[in-house]
């Protein structure tokens, strides 16, 4: 559907919901996440971190979307910072 039409219908739906008094938490726009990182710093962080525990896993092994969750999984596991995670995701997706 055209973006404008989609927005129109979506706003209408939201207005109806809000008007009916049902409390909602508004979802964010798709595509605005994850914020782009810096691929050069991502390459560095990848080289520094991704062989600390296991063999290197390379970009073509997984799809772009899979790299998002995998990198967040590794963020928790390896104590990466949020910035390193975004940089690594961007680097992986660009190398894919």
């Amino acid at each position: 559907m055209k973006t404008k039409t989609r927005h129109f219908f979506y706003s209408m739906g939201l207005a109806l919901l809000l008007g009916s008094g049902i409390p909602t938490v508004q979802a964010e726009e798709t595509g605005s996440y994850p914020p782009k990182g810096d691929p050069a710093r991502g390459a560095r962080a990848w080289a520094d971190n991704c062989t600390r525990c296991h063999n290197l896993r390379e970009a073509p092994e997984l799809r772009d979307d899979q790299w998002i969750t995998t990198s967040f999984h590794m963020r928790v596991r390896a104590g990466l910072t949020g910035q390193e995670t975004r940089d690594i995701i961007t680097f992986m997706q660009m190398s894919n």
Partner: protein, 387 residues
């Protein structure tokens, strides 16, 4: 010019003009159609690319292994190995649910199903993640980072780093973990601090037999344990060191009574140290882990506490285009009960079909000088795949 000729010529010119006019109109139509097509295409591309950056992600990963174990003092047998599927559900950079199961078939042919971990991770800031639920113990490195079979360079866990031995396995509680840069040389710190239900103690024959750390789902003894690990990473030197500590109380539980009876708590303490040094093509790692429980005068189960202590050092060397790897691991496990002590040496050879598909063969020597007899030495074969 003859009239006829003139006519022919003028009609030809007129005809040509008409044609060009029609062509121009047709071209305008085409352009409009093309524009519309491009617009539609743009939207389709936009939607098609949405999967690359969706708000909600569902992801499956995990690992599996199949094994053959040949002990010196018994028949060799195939082991079903295990499959450990991991499921992730993530909403943007706000939250992720992490879960892993382990499914295996035991010696009796029965299937075992375990929840390895299940947590809700809230990404609080760039340097802190709140992890709540059942998680792998954040103490040390083997249990949380190295035990999956496609990661472990040996087909077995080091002595004392298996289930309910010196290194705690899992915890049910709350932890905050993350990392931050220290100074300017690219040095990084990572940390994990937690509070959880803590372990349970099993006693028999007037002694504490083991400290159970499967991640206990309720704190029926009312004694929490808290602690954590602090790690420093020196990327230029390819070096990481970690220090772990936890403290609290733990109780002997009597599962023969209904309801299960929990004795008064006694002191519990964990201390650990780990390192990784990776000057390629070498990979050297080591870890020390000690769990200690205090005495409890007047205890009906076990007056004396004790210490469960283990260490290992492991060196691996890659050769043959990085496809082959030799591994040497030395370690020791020391418990209050001499019969379960173990001095272990493992020598192994691995073939890497891919970075996440590894064939391993190893000879594991287990000695128990304290008990005056030889434990079972084993030959282990394993094929491990991380996906």
């Amino acid at each position: 010019m003859k009239t006829l000729q003139r006519h022919i010529l003028s009609s030809a010119v007129a005809g040509a003009f008409t044609l060009t006019g029609t062509a121009a109109l047709a071209a305008q139509d085409d352009i409009a159609t093309l524009r519309a097509d491009i617009e539609t295409l743009k939207q389709q591309v936009e939607s098609a690319a949405e999967w690359k950056r969706p708000n909600s992600l569902i992801h499956m990963a995990g690992y599996a292994d199949v094994d053959y174990v040949d002990p010196d003092n018994g028949p060799g047998s195939f082991a079903s190995g295990s499959i450990s599927p991991i499921f992730h559900y993530q909403y943007r950079d706000l939250v992720m649910v992490e879960s892993e199961f382990e499914i295996t078939t035991n010696e009796l042919g029965e299937n075992e199903f375990e929840l390895e971990y299940l947590t809700v991770d809230l990404f609080l800031s760039d340097s802190a993640v709140l992890v709540m639920g059942k998680f792998l113990s954040p103490l040390g490195q083997f249990r949380q980072n190295l035990h999956p079979s496609w990661i472990n360079r040996a087909p077995s866990a080091p002595a004392g780093f298996g289930h309910d031995e010196a290194a705690p396995n899992a915890e049910v509680g709350l932890q905050v973990r993350g990392g931050f840069p220290v100074g300017s040389d690219g040095i990084k710190a990572n940390y994990a601090v937690y509070i959880g239900n803590g372990p349970a103690l099993e006693a028999a024959g007037g002694e504490i037999e083991m400290i159970e750390t499967p991640g206990i789902g309720a704190d029926d003894d009312g004694n929490k344990v808290s602690g954590g690990r602090f790690g420093l990473l020196f990327p230029a030197q390819k070096l990481e060191i970690g220090l772990s500590y936890a403290t609290g109380q733990a109780s002997v539980r009597d599962t023969a009574m209904t309801p299960v009876f929990y004795e008064t708590g006694r002191d519990y303490e964990y201390t650990g140290f780990d390192f990784t040094w990776r000057p390629a093509p070498f990979d050297l790692r080591g870890e020390y882990a000690k769990q200690e429980v205090g005495d409890l005068p007047g205890s009906a189960y076990a007056v004396n506490g004790g210490a469960w202590e283990a260490w290992y050092v492991q060196g691996a060397y890659r050769f043959g285009d990085g496809k082959w790897e030799v591994v040497l691991r030395l370690g020791e496990y020391d418990t209050p009960d001499d019969a379960t002590d173990n001095e272990q040496t493992l020598v192994g050879l691995n073939y890497l079909f891919a970075s996440n598909l590894i064939g391993k063969i190893a000879i594991e020597r287990n000695d128990n000088p304290n008990a005056g007899f030889q434990n079972d030495d084993r030959t282990l074969v394993q094929l491990a795949y991380g996906f």
